[in-house]
């Protein structure tokens, strides 16, 4: 086609980018003719736009990994036409791979290696130099004094490239492949696997083994090799161009020196445990699901994961792309999609996308395939329910949240009767607990009566209580109450009318000041706080907004009545007492009270471990509050640290300017506002205070965990009963969860924890959690 003369360079670049990025998408002509056409266009533009074209191709090589072999074929065709351009591309892509490793973009670097491997197939790269590159990756396992996560990454990435280039390398370089595999075998069989227990979704291998990711891929690659490298998932467009590509001159890759490990700044990907929930018996109709060690299983999962990464901002496009992957007739696609998405959703410590993403994509999938997807999703939910007993608590929480929200999107329709086995169990067991938590979340998303109506009557015992307020000083309640309580009720009524009559802070303080403390002689005046806070929350019960403005309006009174550590913990206890039927209210109000500095993070932790909270200790809302509190603490510190860094920078700039532009009036003006030493010192004090609060918070949490767990273990032993109660399992997992969900913070305190709390004389059941965590933070 002749080019319009008016097209600017910028327009041409845009057009080239769009042409290159779109190749391999839906088109009326064949992929082969599109590739040939594109190669011709690019060849014509190479003289004028070589750097731009090569740059776009480099980006495509790792940003569109699902089209890997399409681009490797394109490169092959270009290399045949223009040998130099092939050489330059290799040089650029090589640099890019190193750069990505250095800046911790390991996943992208991984796709480049796979792409370079595929260039052997399209006759751009020589097999022997590719062997050399893989060898260099394998030799990282021999390095000493580097973390296992580094070796894992190099080995995993090298294995991940083999489905693409293994066949041709075995054919051309059989002996070297033999050596490579013996290196792999040696590494994989001697690897430490302490992390495995900590990161698996289920503690049991029944019905499906929960394999370590390096071991699983190794087994899959070995099987692929035994099968003569034959698989039918990877698209291989270069095969059609074999005669053309055969004449190409191939390039030798330069020698590869792995970028060094830099302690403290290189952050390798965390180890993973492979999530499996289906096998061939679960999808008896249609094509079989590939076995655990079939490379097809891994290839399909990889393709699906790529799509959820590329389309993570667009739930509709994501769902459509997932359902349209090439080769979809050769596999039970719906099962594979759901297994992959659930695997990501349950990934520990955190899933690749936010939880709401998975919720939204499942809904989209159900909309696109209303006759099939809901069934498979129901099957999956049923399996997850059946396996609750061995499921990690963090994953159960995610399951609860997703399932309740999914139900709320589909009129709460579910065949509850099939889950009636939970009705005869100890209510502390995972299944009844799960149902209870799901129903509670359903009530929050709808309303109490609706949930009561949808549930079969047998499930009544698991229904959440009606979320109404429990006001201790209600006049009508308990006519036979004690004299003291009756007197308190009268006081509460006075407070209530004072608030209603728009009483000011100080008037209320005067009224409250006359309240005598409880007769037990404790120093802190609990009664005063209780009467006031109960009355205030009672008056403001109508909505969150009412409660918020009540707290804001009487902030001064609360701070006065709830003075000191004990006052803060008591405020939380009173809040929980008033709203014990309404956990959402407790959560939202604790958040508000933290932000208003009525309570602080440590007091929240102490309250959660207090005897008054024992009955709610294993409930989901309690742990939502705990984690939200920790996150708030971490965020607060990060914000202050950010401000400090910015202040230092401004001070440094000002100092520099001071040196060189002494006569510049404007600069002098600027320097007037630059932070001085006092500002810096004050800011540093704030940072230090927050930093020590953060450490204190974690120490309190861990110390309380150790106390209650040790108590339980000692008591079980002396009574001669089994320590493995539902409470114990729950609590020990919550301890692990604190490590897991806040690992980046906890690692700062490892030394202190090891020397102060997790000492060798601790019961091994507790100590093991710390040791497992140490293994992933290495």
């Amino acid at each position: 086609k002749r080019r319009k003369t008016s097209e600017s360079n910028e327009e041409i670049e845009k057009r080239l980018e769009s042409l290159i990025c779109r190749v391999g998408e839906k088109s009326s002509s064949s992929l082969e003719s599109n590739l040939e056409g594109l190669a011709a266009v690019l060849e014509a533009d190479l003289p004028n736009f070589k750097p731009q074209i090569l740059h776009i191709l480099v980006l495509c090589s790792y940003q569109l990994p699902e089209k890997c072999s399409i681009y490797s074929t394109l490169l092959g065709l270009l290399n045949v036409r223009n040998y130099n351009c092939g050489a330059e591309f290799i040089e650029m892509v090589y640099c890019e791979m190193k750069r990505l490793i250095v800046i911790n973009q390991f996943n992208m670097a991984r796709y480049i290696l796979q792409f370079i491997g595929d260039l052997v197939n399209s006759s751009v790269v020589t097999p022997s130099s590719m062997m050399g590159l893989l060898g260099a990756f394998a030799d990282v396992t021999k390095q000493e004094g580097v973390p296992q996560s580094r070796k894992d990454w190099f080995v995993y990435v090298l294995m991940a490239a083999l489905p693409w280039c293994g066949s041709i390398l075995s054919e051309k370089k059989g002996n070297e492949m033999e050596t490579l595999f013996s290196k792999l075998h040696k590494y994989v069989s001697n690897r430490n696997k302490d992390h495995h227990k900590f990161l698996r979704v289920w503690s049991s291998d029944d019905p499906h083994p929960q394999e370590d990711y390096v071991e699983c891929l190794y087994a899959q690659i070995c099987k692929l090799r035994e099968d003569g490298w034959i698989e039918d998932i990877i698209l291989r467009p270069y095969r059609a161009f074999q005669p053309v590509l055969a004449d190409a001159l191939q390039h030798n890759l330069p020698q590869f020196i792995p970028p060094p490990h830099i302690a403290g700044s290189t952050v390798y990907p965390l180890p993973k445990v492979i999530f499996r929930m289906f096998d061939y018996t679960d999808c008896p109709e249609g094509p079989l699901i590939p076995g655990n060690h079939a490379i097809e299983r891994w290839l399909i999962e990889e393709h699906l994961s790529c799509l959820t990464r590329s389309y993570k901002y667009d739930k509709k496009e994501c769902a459509n792309r997932l359902l349209a992957i090439p080769g979809r007739d050769k596999m039970p696609l719906n099962h594979m999609i759901i297994e992959t998405l659930l695997g990501d959703m349950f990934r520990l410590p955190s899933s690749p996308n936010p939880q709401v993403f998975y919720m939204a994509v499942f809904i989209e999938l159900c909309k696109i395939q209303p006759s099939m997807m809901p069934q498979v999703l129901a099957l999956a939910s049923d399996m997850l329910y059946e396996r609750l007993d061995t499921m990690q608590i963090t994953c159960i929480d995610r399951f609860v949240n997703w399932f309740a929200q999914h139900l709320s999107n589909f009129q709460f329709r579910w065949s509850w009767d099939e889950w009636s086995d939970c009705l005869t169990m100890d209510p502390a067991m995972p299944k009844p607990k799960f149902i209870r938590e799901v129903l509670e979340k359903c009530v929050r998303l709808a309303y109490h009566q609706r949930v009561c109506e949808i549930m079969p009557s047998e499930f009544q015992a698991l229904l959440p209580s009606n979320p109404k307020i429990e006001f201790k000083y209600a006049i009508e309640a308990g006519s036979g109450s004690s004299e003291e309580l009756n007197a308190d009720k009268t006081t509460a009524q006075k407070i209530i009318s004072a608030i209603k009559n728009k009483g000011k802070d100080d008037e209320l303080i005067v009224m409250l000041d006359v309240i005598k403390p409880h007769s037990d002689g404790s120093e802190f005046n609990v009664k005063r706080l209780e009467i006031f806070l109960q009355s205030l929350l009672f008056l403001a019960q109508k909505s969150f907004s009412h409660s918020f403005s009540a707290l804001a309006k009487f902030h001064k009174v609360i701070k006065w009545a709830a003075d000191g550590e004990e006052g803060k913990i008591e405020s939380l206890r009173i809040l929980q007492d008033v709203w014990r039927n309404h956990p959402q209210k407790i959560g939202v109000l604790v958040d508000k009270m933290l932000r208003m500095q009525i309570v602080d993070c440590s007091s929240v932790a102490k309250w959660i471990f207090s005897p008054e909270m024992a009955s709610d200790f294993t409930r989901l809302y309690t742990w939502e509050i705990m984690h939200a509190t920790i996150r708030k603490m971490n965020k607060h510190l990060a914000k202050l640290e950010g401000e400090m860094a910015e202040m230092r920078e401004r001070a440094a700039v000002a100092e520099k300017k001071d040196d060189c532009d002494e006569n510049d009036d404007m600069m002098k003006g600027f320097n007037l506002f630059a932070p001085n030493e006092d500002d810096l010192r004050m800011m540093q004090e704030k940072v230090d205070a927050a930093s020590s609060d953060q450490k204190k918070l974690f120490l309190i949490i861990f110390q309380r965990f150790i106390m209650i767990l040790s108590d339980h273990l000692v008591r079980s032993k002396s009574l001669g009963c089994d320590y493995k109660t539902p409470w114990f399992k729950n609590t020990i997992q919550r301890l692990g969860e604190i490590f897991l969900l806040h690992k980046d913070t906890v690692v700062k305190f490892m030394m202190t924890l090891e020397n102060l709390l997790f000492t060798s004389d601790l019961d091994p059941h507790i100590l093991t959690i710390f040791q497992q965590f140490s293994s992933i933070s290495r």
Partner: protein, 101 residues
Amino acid sequence: DRVHQEKLLQLSTTLYVGNLSYFTTEEQIYELFSKCGDLKRVVMGLDKFKKTPCGFCFVEYYDRVSAEDCVRFINGTRLDDRVVRTDWDAGFKEGRQYGRG
């Protein structure tokens, strides 16, 4: 002025939420919308005369990314069997909670 408005929208952490049932409560809004991050406040849309909920609200997040996730993922899902619609809003101002009567 339009440029200014657009700039506000690009930094905003507030969303206008429409197509709600008149019976949907502030608590339900809190539950659904905090799935994307901590909420700063929710302002229920009220009927000008009756001062009762009338099918919309404003939600304000602490962080921009929470609001973005909300537009991406909560938008188009259901609450009280109605499809929730979210739109960027330049920021709530007193008085805007009153809908047409």
